[in-house]
Symmetry: C4
Subunit: 342 residues, 4 copies
C-alpha cells in the first residue's frame, strides 16, 4: 500500500475527534479537547506546524555527488534515521475504540524496532500501560522509551523499577504534564520538579534519561544540571498550555545553550523529511513525530509505520542532496536561509 | 451553571448591538456605534484583543512544585485576584432594556466585593448613577471605584463630595473621555485636564485616585506628577479615538517609565487568565475586564460574575504553574518569549 | 443632507467604473483602467489607503483644555483647514456622462473657495479645461491651482500665460504624468523634466509653483533646487506606475529632506480627519483628497463638498483633542506611536 | 491578435494540469505534480511570484527626457531586451498532446532569434531533444542555449559534442536537477557536481557556459571558480525542492558576491516588464521567463512570443521612464525603495 492509501484508510478507523486531515497541521482540531486538539485559545499546534514551513533551506548542488547518510547515533546505539515516535496515550478517549493503549504500543514498539527507529510510549492513569510497554520493549532488546508523567517521587521510582526490571534502553519524563488536573487528583504531590528532585530521579533511573517539555534555554540548562542525557524541545503539541511559542521558534536558542552537553530532540508539527532537515539545521539531533504516526498505524498497522518512515527518509535524503549535506552532521545552520536579502 | 451555560444564556438578554460572541474580540461590532463597538475606522477593540494573543509565554516546569498565589494588594487592601470589573455605563442605550445603570451596578458591586475583586462603575449623563454606586459600595465597606468623567472642576468636586460622603475606597477618572461630544454639550469647560488641574482634583479627592486612559509613557509620568495612585492603561476599548495602538503594545514602555511609582492597571481585550498573565508579565499590577463581565452578569447575575472569575483564576494559576511563577511577583518580563530565535 | 445621504446619492450618478464604495480604498477598482482604478498590477491605490491605517496615534488627554485650531497658511493665504481637492480630469471617460470637466470644475472651485479650502484642477487633452478653470478661479480671487501636464516647454509656457492672464494664486505640474502615452502622442517632446527645464518653467510662471508627483527625497531636493514653492508627495493614485510604495511610506524621509524649504503636501488614500492628522504628523503641511471629493460632488454638488469638509474638520479636531495638539504645528512626529513596545 | 486574445486562446490548447491563469502565479498548481506545479509542500512557485510583487520602485520624473534603451549585451552579442525564454521540457507530460518537445523548440528558437531574444531549451530523457534544438539553433546563427541535465561526465561530454558540432552560442546546465529521481535511474553517476567536475565540463565545452540553479552566494562563487560565464539564480520554479526562498530574496546577496565576475540571470515568477526592472535593480543582468512564454506559444505560436515580448518591452521602458533610467545600466539598487520610512 502507498502512503496515500494507508493515510486514507485511517479515516474510518479514528474516532470522531481526529479528522485525519491531508496534512496534520492543527487547524481542524484547535481548541477542541478532549481529542487530539490543543488547549485554549487553541493555536499552538497550528503554530508548531507553520513555523517549520517558514524556514527556508539553502539549495546548492555544486557539491560532490554522494548518497546521503541519514543514520543517527544516540546513547551508543545507531538508528536508521533521526526520527522517532512521540509518546501518545489515552487513545480510546482521544481517537476512538480501535485500540487500547497497550495494543497500540505493541504494534508501535515492534514496528519502530524493526525499522531502526525508536518508540516513545505514553504513561497515563492505568499503570498497566507502562508495564506492558516495558515488556514489549524487552522483547526487542530494550529499544523503546517509556515516558513517565511527573508523579511524586515514590510513584516515579516505582515506574523506574519496572523499566529497570525490563532493561529498557532509556527513560523519559514529560515534565510539561505538571499542570494536568488528573495528575494531582490521583497523586497529590505530583507536578513540577526542581533540579534537585529531577537529579534524584535521574540518579535512581540509572539509564539515559530524557526530559521532554523544554521550551527555554534556562530550562535546558536545568535539565543538563540535573543530569539528563537528552531533552525533547516540546510544548506537548499545545495540549498543556495555550500561548506558547512554536518549538521551531525556541529551538535555536536552546541549541546554543546546551548543544553538545546533551542530545537535543524536538517535536511539534514535524511532518516531512524536509521538516526533519529544518529541525536538524536549527540545532536538533533528532525529532519525534506524534499524531501522523498514529494515523498511519490506525490505517495500516506496522506497514503504515514503515511506509511513513520510508517517505520521510526519502524526503530527508533528497533535501540533503539538494542542499549539499552528505550526512546529518552536515545539516548545519548555514543550510538555512538567513532572511537577509538587501 | 457552567461558564458556557451562563454565556449562552446572555444571548437573549442583550439588546441588538452586542452579539454575545463566543469570544468577545471586537470583530462583530467594530465601527458600529451606538452599541459596544468602537469608533471609526473601528479596528481598535479588535487590535486590543489580538495583540495579547501574539504574546507568547515561556513554559518551564523544572521548578519547585507549589500552588500559585494569585492574591494582589492595592492601596493597603488585598484582593483575591488581580482582576477587576471595568466601568461601563449607558447600559440601556448600548445593551438594551434589561438593566438601568444603577441596577446593574448593584449586582456588580456586591458580586465583586463578595469575590474579593473590585468593581469600577461608570458615570454618565444622570448624576444618580454615581450616587447610587457610592451608596452600594458603602454597604460593602467602600470597596468599589466610581469613575468620574472629565467634567469641569466644579462638577468633579461635586462628585468627589459624594464619594467622600460614602467613604469609597478610591476614585477614578477616565480622562480619555475628554473628547466625548456630550460632555462639552452638558458642561462647557469639561475636557482635557492639565497636570495642575489634575493635581487639584486629586488633592481634593483625598482618597487613592486612579487615572484611566493613559496610552503613553509621557502621559503616565504626568499622572504620577499629578499624584495619581494608579493608572489604567486604556484606550477606552477604542470608543473615544480611532487608530490608537493596542494597550498591550504600549504597556511595556509605560511600565518602564512608572513601574513602582504608582499601581499600573490595564484593560482592553483581556479575556482569560492567560491574558492576565501576559499583562502582568508586561508590567501591569492588575487588569480590568469590561464587556465579558457584563455578558456574564446579563446571563447569570452574581453567579455569572463568580463563575467567570473562577474560570480566570484557574487559568491564571495553571499558566503560573506551567511557567514556574509561584506568586504574582514572579510574573516578570522573562516569562515572555522575546521572539529571538536565530 | 448628511454625509451618508450624499454619499449614497452618488451611487446612481457615477458611470460604470466607480463603485461608490463605502470607503474609497482602491480595492474594487484595482487594475481596472480606464476608470478610477490603478495601473497593473493594480495594488498601489489600495496600498496608499492601507498604509495610513497602519499608523497609530498617541492618545493623551492630560493636557490643557483647548479648541484645536485647524487653519493652515500657504503662500501668504490662510485656509480653513489643511485639506484641498486634488486635480481630476477626463471625467466623462472615467466617471460617466454627468459632468464634463469644466462644469465639474466650476462647482468644485466655487465650493472650495467658499469653504476656505483650495481646488486643484486637472489638465487633459482639451485646452479649454485649463482656460475655463482659470476663468472660474479669477472670479473667486484667483484661489485655485490649475495643474499642468508635463508638455514640452512651449506648450507649458502657453498654459502659464493663461494662468497669468487670470491671476491664479499658484500653478502646479503633475510631473508624474511624464509616461502617459497620450502626452507624447500629442506633443512629441512632452515628458520628464530636468531640473534646468523645471527651473525655466517655474521662473516663467512667476507665481508659487507646486510640483506634484514626488516620491523620493532626491526628487524633493530637485524640486527645491528648481525653485518649487511646494511639492505634492504623490504616486498619482497608482495610475501612472505599478509597484510604487504608498505615499505614507515615503513621506517621512521626504519631509526630513526638505521640511522648511518648501511646503509639503501629500495625497493618496487620505479619507478622514484622522488620516489628515497622520499625514501632518509624518511631516506634511497639508493634504489633497481626490476621488471621495468627486463622489460627494456627484452626490450633492457644492453641499457635498461642504459636508465632507465639515466631517473631516470635525474628525481632525477630535483627534487633535485626544492627542493633545492645540494647533497644526503641534501635530509633530511624537504624536505617532513608534511601534516600540519591548 | 492582442496579448489577451492569445492568452485566452491558450486555454483550450494546454492539457489538464495548467489552468492558463490570468496571472501565472503558482497558486492554482502548487503541490500538483506531474504538471507545471511545484514540489511538496508546494509553495515555492507562488513565493517566487509574490516576492517580486513586494519590491517597490522609486518613481522620479524630474529627469532628462529620453527614450529608454533596453538592449542588453551578453557574450559579445547584443539582444533586443534582457528577457530570455527559460528551458522547459517533457511538454507532453506536463502540458498535454499539442507539442512534442522538438516541435515546440523549433517555434521558440526561431521566434526568439527573430525578436532578438534568446531561447533556452530543455534536455530530458530522449537525446533527440537536444540534438534537434542544436540543429534549429544552427539555422539561426547558433543563437540559443541548450540546457543539459547534470548527467555523469561522459554523458555530458557527448551532449557538448553535439553543441560544438552545431556551433551553438552557449551551453547551460541546470545543476539543480541533481536530485531528480529519473536522472540516477538512467545514469547512475548523474547528480551533483563538485567545482572540479564542473570546471572540467566547462573547459570541455569551450563556449560560454551558464550554470542554472544557483541559490546562494557560496554557490555563485563556486560557479565563478569553475569558470562559468553566467549563472541563473533559480530554484527551478520550485519543482526540485520544497521550502526554498524565492529567487528575488536571494538575488541581492548573490549579486553582491559575484556581480561583474560573470553574467547574472534570474528566473522564477517574473511576469512583466515591471518585474524585469525589479530583477535588474536587485543585481541581475537579465531574466528568464518560463511558463508564460509557453502559454503564449500554445495560444499564438511565434506571434504569441512576439506579442508577449512587445508587452514586456513596453512595460520595461515605461517603468524606466517613470524611474529615471535611460538604459539598463541605470537600473541600480537606488531605484528600489529601501523600506525605511521613519
Amino acid at each position: 500500500m502507498t502512503y496515500q492509501e494507508i493515510h486514507d484508510a485511517a479515516a474510518g478507523q479514528i474516532g470522531p475527534y481526529c479528522k485525519n486531515c491531508a496534512v496534520c497541521n492543527g487547524r481542524a482540531c484547535g481548541n477542541a479537547m478532549p481529542g487530539p486538539g490543543c488547549k485554549a485559545p487553541g493555536n499552538v499546534s497550528a503554530r508548531n506546524y507553520e513555523k517549520w514551513q517558514e524556514i527556508c533551506v539553502n539549495m546548492d548542488t555544486l557539491c560532490p555527488n554522494t548518497t546521503p547518510d541519514i543514520t543517527m547515533e544516540m546513547f551508543g546505539r545507531r538508528f536508521a534515521l533521526p526520527v522517532f515516535a512521540a509518546p501518545l496515550g489515552s487513545l480510546e478517549m482521544h481517537y476512538g475504540a480501535k485500540y487500547k493503549d497497550p495494543e497500540y504500543n505493541t504494534i508501535l514498539i515492534n514496528a519502530a524496532a524493526a525499522y531502526g527507529s525508536l518508540a516513545f510510549t505514553g504513561d497515563g492513569v492505568d499503570p498497566i500501560n507502562l508495564i506492558r510497554a516495558a515488556e514489549d520493549m524487552e522483547k526487542v532488546g530494550g529499544v523503546g522509551v517509556p515516558t513517565i508523567k511527573p508523579w511524586n517521587k515514590e510513584a516515579v521510582f516505582e515506574k523506574l523499577d519496572v523499566l529497570r526490571a525490563h532493561a529498557t534502553f532509556a527513560a523519559a519524563m514529560d515534565v510539561d504534564g505538571a499542570g494536568l488536573p488528573f495528575l494531582k487528583a490521583m497523586n497529590p504531590n505530583a507536578g513540577s520538579k526542581s533540579v534537585d528532585e529531577m537529579r534524584e530521579i535521574i540518579d535512581y533511573a540509572g539509564i539515559p534519561f530524557i526530559i521532554k517539555g523544554i521550551m527555554t534555554p534556562a530550562g535546558a540548562l536545568k535539565a543538563a544540571e540535573a543530569g539528563a542525557a537528552a531533552i525533547v524541545v516540546s510544548n506537548h503539541g499545545g495540549r498543556v498550555q495555550g500561548g506558547t511559542p512554536a518549538t521551531a521558534e525556541v529551538l535555536p536558542a536552546i541549541a546554543r545553550a546546551v548543544k553538545g552537553k546533551l542530545t537535543i530532540l524536538v517535536d511539534g508539527g514535524i511532518r516531512s523529511g524536509l521538516d526533519v532537515f529544518r529541525a536538524l539545521a536549527l540545532g536538533a539531533d533528532g525529532v519525534l513525530i506524534g499524531r501522523p504516526v498514529l494515523n498511519m498505524i490506525y490505517g495500516g498497522g506496522a506497514e503504515g509505520f514503515r511506509v511513513y518512515m520510508d517517505k520521510i527518509a526519502e524526503e530527508l535524503r533528497s533535501t540533503m542532496t539538494m542542499c549539499g549535506a552528505a550526512s546529518l552532521k552536515n545539516i548545519t545552520a548555514d543550510k538555512i536561509w538567513n532572511g537577509q536579502n538587501m
